[in-house]
C-alpha cells in the first residue's frame, strides 16, 4: 500500500489498496465495490459469517476509511468509499505549470 493503512482513514481507498488488505477484508471490500452497498447481515449471508463477525470486518474497513456506514445500528448499510487517484505526484510543480501553460 505504500502507507500504513491506519494513516489512510481520511482519503478513501485506491484500487491498489484493496490488494494489500488481509484476505477476508479484501474479499468483503471487492464484493461491496461490485455491489454498491450492503448491510452486515447481507455480508454475513454472502460469506457464511455470523453477523457480528461481518460487522466487525466492516467496521475495520470503516476505520481505515475504505467504507462508510449509514443509518442507525439496526439498519446500518455500508458503502465503499473510493478515494482520489493521482499519478506521477513526484514531478515538481514548475514542470506541471510548463506543461499546462506552454
Amino acid at each position: 500500500m505504500g502507507e500504513n493503512p491506519s494513516d489512510s482513514g481520511s482519503r478513501g481507498f485506491r484500487p491498489s489498496d484493496m490488494l494489500a488488505l488481509p484476505e477476508e477484508e479484501r474479499h468483503l471490500l471487492q464484493w461491496l465495490t461490485r455491489r454498491g452497498r450492503a448491510s452486515a447481515e447481507e455480508a454475513a449471508g454472502q460469506f457464511g459469517l455470523d453477523p457480528a463477525a461481518a460487522r466487525s470486518l466492516l467496521e475495520a474497513l470503516a476505520k481505515r476509511g475504505f467504507v462508510k456506514g449509514e443509518g442507525d445500528e439496526s439498519h446500518e448499510v455500508y458503502q465503499p468509499r473510493p478515494g482520489s487517484m493521482r499519478t506521477a505526484r513526484t514531478l515538481p510543480d514548475g514542470l506541471w505549470r510548463k506543461l499546462r501553460d506552454p
Binding site: R14, S16, Q30, G36, R81, G83, A88, L99, R100
Partner: protein, 255 residues
Amino acid sequence: MGKLVVVHSFRGGTGKSNITANLAALLACRGNRVGIVDTDIQSPGIHALFSLAPDHFKFALNDYLWKRCRIEEAAYDVSDILRGHQPGASGSIYLIPASMRTGEITRILQEGYDVGLLNNGFQQFMETLELDYLLIDTHPGVNEETLLSAAISDVLVIILRPDRQDYQGTAIMVELARQLEVPKMLLLINKAVNQKDFAALKQRVESIYGVGVAGVIPLSEDVAVLGSTDVFCLLHPDHPMTLALQSAIMEIVGK
C-alpha cells in the same frame, strides 16, 4: 443491468483499442446497445476508429471527472459507422472519448481524479443509456484505473502477442485479476504468425495461464493498411481477424 467488459493488455501496441472498437461493433451488429469508455487518459485514441474528430468533442471523460458535465453528456452516438457498412444493423454504439488537449491530459495526470466518480460514471452510463454492454478501453500495464476497472468488471479480456515480454506481463495481469476475483477472464492472442500453428499456440497459452483463449488473431497487413481509419470487421466480415473476434464475442455473451 448491462455487462461490463474490460479490455486490457500489460504492454502497449497489442491492438487493444482496435480490438475494443471491433468487439463493440460486433456486439452492436447483434442488436445490442453498446457503450465504450476510453479510460486511457494518458494516451487516448479509440475515437479515431469511429471518425470522431477531437475538435468535435464538446465534453470528454476528463470533463466528467472534473464535474463539468454529466457522464452521458460526454457520450457520442457513433452508430452511423454501423449503418454505413451494414444498413440493417439495429444496435447502437456510444463512445465516451478522453480529451486530446495537451493541457487537459497533463492536468489530469497532475491533479488526479476521484475514483468513486469513475466507478459511478460507468454505472450511470450503463443505466442512462440502457446499455447491454459497456466496454472499457484501458491504459496498458498495472495502474489504478485498470485495477478499478478489473475489480468491477464482469469480463476481463487480456490481449497479448506471441512475444516473451507479453507472456511475462500477462502472467502478472492474470494473477492480479485472480486476486480481484474477476468473474470471467479471457485471453485474446493478437498478431499471431504461422496460421498452421494457431491451435497449438492456443493450447500452449491456455495451459500456461489456466485461462481460456477466446481467439487467435493473425498478424494482418490489411489491418495496418486501414490505419485506425475505420472499424475493420465491418469492412471485412469474413476476414480471419473478424472470425477470431466473433469467437471472442461468443465467449463474452456467454454462448
